[in-house]
Amino acid sequence: MQWIKATRQFLRAWRHPDETAREVETELRFHVEMRARANIEEGMTPDEARLAAQQSFGDFDQIKISCCEIKRGFPFDLKALRMGVFIAVACLAGGFAVVAVNLPHDNLFGVLWQLAAIAVLMCTFLVGRRNIRRRHD
């Protein structure tokens, strides 16, 4: 159930941004510290080792910001989600049309229902066609 975990992490990153940033920072600091230790083992002084570790890591703050932004990013493929929503809407529109067609249409209410069904089906068709065209462009 990886998607449950991804959703939970996504929500947590939005609800507790400071906690997320702290967590990212702890992880990145651990890396820099490990690099500094390795540098000391290779013969550098502690100051040199720390400086070299920071330099080899790159822009710490920028990397931290990038990581936090990724954590706050939507964890699912939006195209797939959009397609799913569209299919669901199309199914609902189809069901609505079937119900509307089967309603008695010998009164104003029935005629209005049928017109509404035609409008919904037309909208679904047009939106679907626009999406398909956009994908081909």
């Binding site: 975990k5 990212v24 992880e27 651990f30 790159g58 710490f60 990397i63 954590k71 964890p75």
Partner: protein, 111 residues
């Protein structure tokens, strides 16, 4: 290792290398960089900073999973491991890579 020239990583290969490194066992971020260097015979060096956004993206896609634990030197560290989806993805990436490398070699050998 310092004097050896290091091959730059092609775009898109970082994900595959991270997945490969983790297919050999759970590791923290620093360990992943070390393992990539080790399994490539010290020829490939991941830019340390770029490793983490890559790890976060892979985790978001569900290809790797993470949990906090204690490292060998008794420090709190985040360990990553490959998920089942990640293992499948690694196989796919390896196949793509082999096909691409084969095609490139064929093109280079053409006379």
């Amino acid at each position: 290792m310092g004097s050896k020239s290091k091959a730059g990583l092609l775009q898109g290969t970082l994900d595959m290398l991270i997945l490969k490194a983790l297919s050999l066992g759970a590791l923290h971020g620093y360990g992943i960089g070390q393992r990539i260097a080790q399994i490539s015979g010290e020829e490939l060096r991941v830019e340390e900073g770029s490793l983490y956004p890559g790890l976060y993206r892979l985790e978001q896609r569900g290809w790797i999973d993470s949990e906090w634990d204690v490292s060998d030197n008794n420090q709190r560290a985040k360990f990553y491991k490959l998920t089942r989806a990640g293992r499948k993805q690694l196989i796919l990436e390896e196949q793509n890579w082999e096909r691409l490398a084969g095609a490139t070699m064929k093109a280079l050998r053409a006379s």
